[in-house]
Structure formats: structure tokens, C-alpha cells
């Protein structure tokens, strides 16, 4: 589920991202295996049809990113793998940014999520039914996550009242670290040293020029979340 972008002034920050994913979160080893498989398939495809290889490479990047976000310490190599693939993709296919139609440019690449310190979590009450017997909340003794005669128990939510979406250092779903920060025309101009030409599409150069994550691997603070500074709260946030 995505957060819709709003028109903002040139000096404000525009964020866009996901606060809930429909697909269940898989364990990090499964994600990493899937990523390596996709990378292999992309490599094989590249020998014959380069265009078929590109989406496979891009999907492999996203799965490496997921594996790292789910388990940073245990899958730190996925940080380097994602950047290395990103460098290869940028060099061979390019990583054009997306025109938002009002002068803003975004990139939805997961590699940037490897450096994010905030993800999105939502809050609010929900009503659900038991997947085993259909009873309402707390009306049966089935426990979510358990199996009963080969039937998995989980909550089937049929009503949710979303109160707010917060940016937090430990989001409920680590995939929500994927957040697009729109680049303003001023930022694009500053980064390139010149304004964009008519019809020119800016390219993301994070993996080729901006970050050496492919060679050095993650920094200590990328892996150890206890080193992250706590976000300022309440009055402190205004100082």
C-alpha cells in the first residue's frame, strides 16, 4: 500500500513509500537464495538477450536488499551484492530517474533503502476472523501462527481504521525502509553542476559514483542498529 505524494514547496521534502506489503515477509536466507538464483539466471540470459537480463538483475537487487533489511548482521554480504549488481546494471543499462511531472525526480531502487534509518509503520485498531474456525477476535482458542490439522491459523482482517503512519527506526516490516525521496530541480542542478537540458533524463549514479558499498561492504552502523541515533521527539525535534 503506497502513500500518495502531495504537492510541496521547493524547500520541503517529499517522501513516498510503502507502509504495508501484501506479500508475506520471507526469512532472510530464503530471500538471499532467491536473489542469488535470479542473479545466476540474469547472467545466463545476458549471454543471449541483454534486454531479458535487465529485469532479472533488477529483481535480484531487490531481493538482496530485502535479505539485508530482514537480517543485517547475518546477511551483511547482501549489502555488497546489491551494490555490485547495481553498479553492473547502471553501467550496462543505466538507471534513469522517474519524472513526477512537476519538476521532481524520484528513483524507487531498493539499494537506497540500505542506507535509510527510518521505515514506515501504521497504527490503528483492526477487526478480524480466525482462519481456522471463523470466530471473531478472542472468541476461540486458536493461536495465530500455529497449525491445526494442516490448517494455518492467522487473522483475516476485514476492518482496519488507520490512524497514522509513523516513520520509525524499527518498522514493523523492514521492507518499508524503501522510501523514495524526491529530488528537487535545485538538487539535480547542484549535483550535476548544470541544469537539465530539454528532454534530458537524470540518471541515478549511487552505485557507480555515490557509494563504494560494493567494495567496502556495509559500515558498522549499517549493520548494528543500536548505533543509530534516536530520533528527536516532541519539543526536542524543533530545537
Amino acid at each position: 500500500m503506497a502513500v500518495a505524494p502531495q504537492r510541496v514547496g521547493d524547500d520541503e521534502v517529499r517522501l513516498r513509500g510503502y507502509f504495508v506489503y501484501y506479500e508475506p515477509l520471507r526469512p532472510a536466507p530464503v530471500l538471499a537464495r532467491h536473489a542469488r538464483r535470479l542473479r545466476y539466471e540474469a547472467g545466463m540470459a545476458e549471454r543471449g538477450d541483454e534486454q531479458r537480463a535487465e529485469p532479472l538483475y533488477r529483481e535480484a537487487i531487490e531481493r538482496f536488499v530485502d535479505a539485508f533489511l530482514v537480517d543485517r548482521a547475518g546477511h551483511s554480504a547482501c549489502f555488497s551484492d546489491a551494490h555490485a549488481l547495481g553498479r553492473h546494471v547502471a553501467a550496462h543499462y543505466g538507471c534513469p530517474m522517474k519524472d513526477e511531472g512537476d519538476g521532481y525526480w524520484t528513483t524507487g531502487c531498493g539499494v537506497l533503502a540500505l542506507h535509510r534509518r527510518l521505515g514506515a509503520s501504521w497504527s490503528g485498531p483492526t477487526l478480524s476472523r480466525c482462519s481456522v474456525c471463523g470466530a471473531g477476535d478472542f472468541e476461540c482458542d486458536h493461536v495465530p501462527g500455529q497449525w491445526y490439522d494442516e490448517v494455518h491459523c492467522h487473522r483475516i482482517v476485514y476492518e482496519a481504521a488507520i490512524r497514522e503512519i509513523s516513520l520509525v527506526p524499527f518498522p514493523d516490516d523492514p521492507r518499508t525502509y524503501r522510501m523514495e525521496v524526491a529530488r528537487t530541480p535545485r538538487e539535480i542542478r547542484a549535483a550535476r553542476g548544470r541544469p537539465l537540458r530539454r528532454g534530458e533524463v537524470p540518471m541515478c549514479t549511487h552505485c557507480t559514483e555515490g557509494c563504494d558499498g560494493a567494495d567496502r561492504g556495509p559500515r558498522e552502523e549499517d549493520v548494528d542498529q543500536s548505533l543509530w541515533p534516536s530520533p528527536k521527539l516532541g519539543r526536542d525535534s524543533r530545537s
Binding site: 526469512p27 543485517r72 497504527s123 485498531p125 483492526t126 493461536v143 481504521a161
Partner: protein, 149 residues
């Protein structure tokens, strides 16, 4: 007794929102012969409440849990940690524990809250001083904050 985190309308119904581990704790306690109730204010129906602060937030517990319930809580947390590890996560999950203590004499309510690495919070819950019958601490007993060793 487990208390709801919120009481709010959802689609014209008043919903008492409990944390998502409440059902698990209620059922486990029942299986062990312990009476754990879910408190529903009049006219409300039970639901769940999601709000992410720590990895796991236990439901609000009324009173200080007796030793048997504390053991159950600690055991459940250790089980969740084990499942968390089985899912391939190396980081230690953060857990928030809260209990509500009502002082009948002064008509005041205190909410005590502990948040930290789940294994340390589980150890602290299990090691708390023995409680007087009824699950409430002796009057002279001080609230002891957990500390890392």
C-alpha cells in the same frame, strides 16, 4: 487481566484494541490452568491494535503478575525469540512490557513500563522478587528497575 490499548470506533462499532500477542498469552495461560481474562468495557467488542514502537509490545497487564504467570510470560518470550532466530534474524528483538497498578487507597493508577532486548526483559520478568498472594507487591516493596549485567 489483559487491558486494551485503545478504545475507539471502527465502522460504527466501539472496539477495544489489544496487542497482537494477547490471544497467544490468553490461550497459553488457559492451557496451564491460569485464569487470564481480556477486559472488555461495556458496549465494546474485542479487536486488535497495531502501533509499532518495539519489535514486540506485550498487552497491558493489570497488576503485577504472580510468579506462575511471570514464568509463563518469560517462557513465551523465549519461545518467540527462538522462532525469530529460526526465521534467520540475528538481531535481538526489542520488547516492551507494561503493567498497570491501581492504588485503591489513593485512587491513582500507575503504568510501569520496561523496554529492552527481549531476552533481558524475559529474564527480568522471571527473576522479579516473589510476590505476595494476589499478585500485588508488599506495600514496603520498592519497584526495582531492571539493569543490564
Amino acid at each position: 487481566m489483559l487491558l486494551p490499548d485503545t478504545l475507539s470506533p471502527v465502522d460504527d462499532q466501539l472496539v477495544a484494541g489489544f496487542r497482537d500477542r494477547s490471544q497467544e498469552l490468553r490461550v497459553r495461560a488457559k492451557q496451564q490452568g491460569l485464569a487470564v481474562e481480556v477486559y472488555l468495557p461495556q458496549g465494546a467488542r474485542a479487536g486488535y491494535y497495531a502501533e509499532h514502537a518495539a519489535d514486540w509490545v506485550l498487552p497491558l497487564i493489570l497488576g503485577v503478575p504472580a510468579a506462575t504467570l511471570a514464568d509463563l510470560l518469560a517462557g513465551e518470550i523465549r519461545l518467540w525469540i527462538s522462532t525469530w532466530r529460526d526465521e534467520g534474524r540475528s538481531r535481538t528483538p526489542m520488547l516492551r512490557y507494561r503493567e498497570v497498578v491501581i492504588d485503591e487507597r489513593t485512587q491513582t493508577t500507575k503504568v510501569r513500563e520496561v523496554e529492552g532486548p527481549a531476552d533481558e526483559v524475559a529474564d527480568w520478568i522471571a527473576r522479579r522478587p516473589a510476590l505476595s498472594p494476589g499478585g500485588e507487591p508488599h506495600e514496603e516493596e520498592e519497584w526495582r528497575w531492571p539493569h543490564s549485567e
